[in-house]
Amino acid sequence: MDLLAFLKTRQEQDADLFLHRMFVADQSVVLAGFKSLIDLPQTMMLLQQQARNTVASERPLFALESGIGTCIRDADERRVMEAISEGDLILLPESVPLCIRIVPVNRTLTRAIEAPTTESVLRGPISAFNEDLDTNLGILKKLVVSPRLRTRSFWMGSDVRRHAVLVYMEGRIDPALLTAITQKIESNQETDVPDLMALTRLLGFPKWTLVTRYNTTELPQNAASALSKGKAVLLLDRFPFAIVLPSLLLDMFFADNDMNFPLFYAVSFRFLRMVGVLTNVLLPGLYVALVSVNPEVLRIEIALSIAGSRSEVPYPALVETLLLLLILELTLEASIRLPKTIGPTITMVGGIILGQAVVEAKLVSNILIIILAATTIANFAVIGFHNATTVRLGKYLILFLSAVYGLMGLFVGTVVLCAYIAKVSTFGIPYVYRWRARDRNG
């Protein structure tokens, strides 16, 4: 019984591993598994019950058909350890050289289904994904009640293994897209996926990119509607977001939740988000261009009022803007880190004290405060935090070009951004493509 010997030596290095000897229907067996993952008393009770049933129906206890568990063929040390680390129970009968893998009663290591914390829903289902893959899949299946739904399971990584499930709808998804995704995952299955950056690498997307090629969503309804539109959804274990492939430009503006409102409102919400993105990208650049390079574009009244508010500001407009933008970005970053209880503090410090004092101290003009406040608010009108991050960077390019070339630079910067966005594609689907749901079965 070298397997048992191996587990015993292993136990010395891993305090969590238990080796429990017990009798199942008068047979002496050894159970092995992780204490932290398995609810042992419950599992033992279940096992005894099953064994009794098997004996009662006069079937051999450890035969395949007796249904206690699956038998691991050619059980070697690696396979056994894999099964244990995936949270299963290993049963080693002492009489027969067998290794049986049993699905145990798990400990509850997952929070309950809760409301989303990073996205909010005004109208629509409120439950959000959580860390448990099976729960997530279950929620999704509840939402997409369709015989077309397909799931494919993968284990990624060699050292640290991670379970992933690819969900799609047969007949809706473009077969080429599906093949591309599965090929990428299968050919890179040995890659560890600790974070989304690794996933990006696994899927073969470039590392240096401003645009994320996939959307993450915490809302099952978003994932469900992506599925029905023919996109693929990737669920990772211990990751409370669904990864929707591919991500397109219009996903920034079109939320599925919009369609829970009358069409007129849906359209105006989307329009508002587009305005938000434009505001965020263009406004700081526009301010610098108008204040330092092309003041002739302004109306005289506002030109004079800006000149008045800037009269004692020592820095050029670009430095002034960068200074305040830095503080704003710091505020944003800090408020993500801060515990919820101290959150309001940063609002007060950032908003009231900094905003007021920075003008009083003549470091920036008060028009700039208005402009940057509008910029920051507009930033989060887009859907999804990752999209907001994408948008955040674009404004710096435009800001610098505007500072040098004025309005001309603003336009050139816009063109450069548009060209960049137009270049991006995911599995051959351009980022600016307008996705249409279609039935590919005819």
Binding site: V291, P295, I300, E301, A303, A307, G308, R310, V313, Y405
Partner: protein, 360 residues
């Protein structure tokens, strides 16, 4: 990939450094380091140009203006000298109104306006005005009565602010156009410091080829504006019996050449509403008097314009298709003085105001 990067990184560096070093961005001055004159005064005396600039003082909370002036042989040179002596750069790109002295206007604005158009440091949409009398008191008045960074004078001419159709509205480019057009002259408003108001308009100057040759009254300026389709809405017309407000105006023209003589049939369609009546005249009477008044006023003005050979109404435009270019060259001297104009006014009294008590 590495090879690609080896090319790309230097290329990127070159592009970025070129963008920074070739842009000349160190010459950019922020808005608070520029003086933005709103009004410029120009006078020509004894071979010397005198330049006044009304500069809003950019300071928070207060609105103040200051007037700087200098004299020199050329306008641009003088402005440059003012800029040299100022602590900020004088930037004419927000100049709203140029006030010419009457002497300068009578001598001719051609060179000055051409210079502005050539140098392009003054926006072509800048409004022109002519000062009745000396410029000094005008600027004194503007400085003393300002409460709004000195843009009152601009608002005086601005259509969405204080402009009324008795004041002509002519921009620098229009003067420049009239210099080079055979068939179009312009009228420039004449202003002076008002008795109780900041400014007061005393009519318009008739500018022919850049030179002031005559002046017309504010009432005639209204006709000029009507003729040019400068919607005379909201204008109150006073007669012996009533005051009416013009709601809409529309002009139709029919041009013909009869035996080499230019004939123009013009019709002014007016829709008016009655505002005020004295000893309750009938609507018909009001209409009749309005038509007569406008017709005689127009005929009088037109005769004078013909005498001065100044086509500020641009009636020559209606003959452009009927004459050769050679003929048009002599439009002002040969054809225009003999032009026969049949001017008719068709007015409709749309309503009698909120009181519906007047007879038919």
């Amino acid at each position: 990939m590495i090879r690609n990067l080896m090319y790309r990184i230097p290329l990127l560096l070159i592009t970025v450094s070129a963008a920074v070093t070739l842009s000349g961005c160190w010459n950019i001055k922020d808005i608070n380091h520029r003086s933005l004159p709103v009004i410029m005064g120009l006078q020509h005396k004894n071979g010397v140009f005198q330049v006044w600039l009304l500069l809003p003082e950019a300071s928070e909370g207060r609105s103040n203006v200051r007037v700087v002036s200098d004299a020199g042989k050329t306008i641009e040179g003088t402005i440059d000298r003012i800029g040299k002596n100022m602590e900020t750069r004088v930037d004419l790109l927000h100049l709203k109104v140029i006030v010419f002295g009457q002497a300068l206007a009578e001598k001719g604005l051609g060179d000055t306006v051409s210079g502005f158009m050539r140098a392009r440091d003054i926006p072509a949409k800048t409004l022109a005005a002519i000062c009745d009398g000396e410029l000094e008191p005008l600027f004194d008045r503007l400085k003393s009565s300002t409460s709004n960074n000195g843009i009152e004078a601009y608002n005086y001419f601005e259509k969405n602010a204080g402009w009324t159709p008795q004041v002509a509205q002519t921009r620098i480019w229009q003067i420049y156009r009239s210099l080079h057009s055979y068939t179009r002259d312009v009228a420039i408003p004449i202003i002076k410091p008002g008795r109780t108001t900041t400014l007061e308009s005393t009519g318009s100057a008739v500018i022919k080829n850049g030179r002031m040759v005559a002046r017309i009254t504010p009432d005639e300026t209204l006709l000029y504006n009507l003729f040019n389709g400068q919607g005379a809405q909201g204008r109150i017309e006073v007669m012996d019996h009533a005051a009416v407000q013009i709601l809409t105006d529309r002009m139709t023209h029919q041009s013909a050449l009869k035996e080499g003589k230019a004939v123009l049939n013009s019709r002014l369609h007016l829709k008016v509403t009655v505002l005020e009546t004295i000893s309750s005249p009938t609507s018909d009477r009001i209409r009749q008097e309005l038509n007569e008044l406008l017709t005689t006023r127009f005929q009088r003005m037109f005769r004078e314009l013909q005498r001065e050979e100044a086509d500020i109404l641009g009636v020559g435009q209606f003959f452009r298709a009927r004459m050769s270019r050679e003929d048009l060259r002599d439009w002002r001297s040969d054809h225009y003085p003999h032009l026969l104009i049949n001017f008719r006014v068709d007015s409709i009294i749309e309503n009698v105001g909120l009181l519906n008590t007047m007879g038919p």
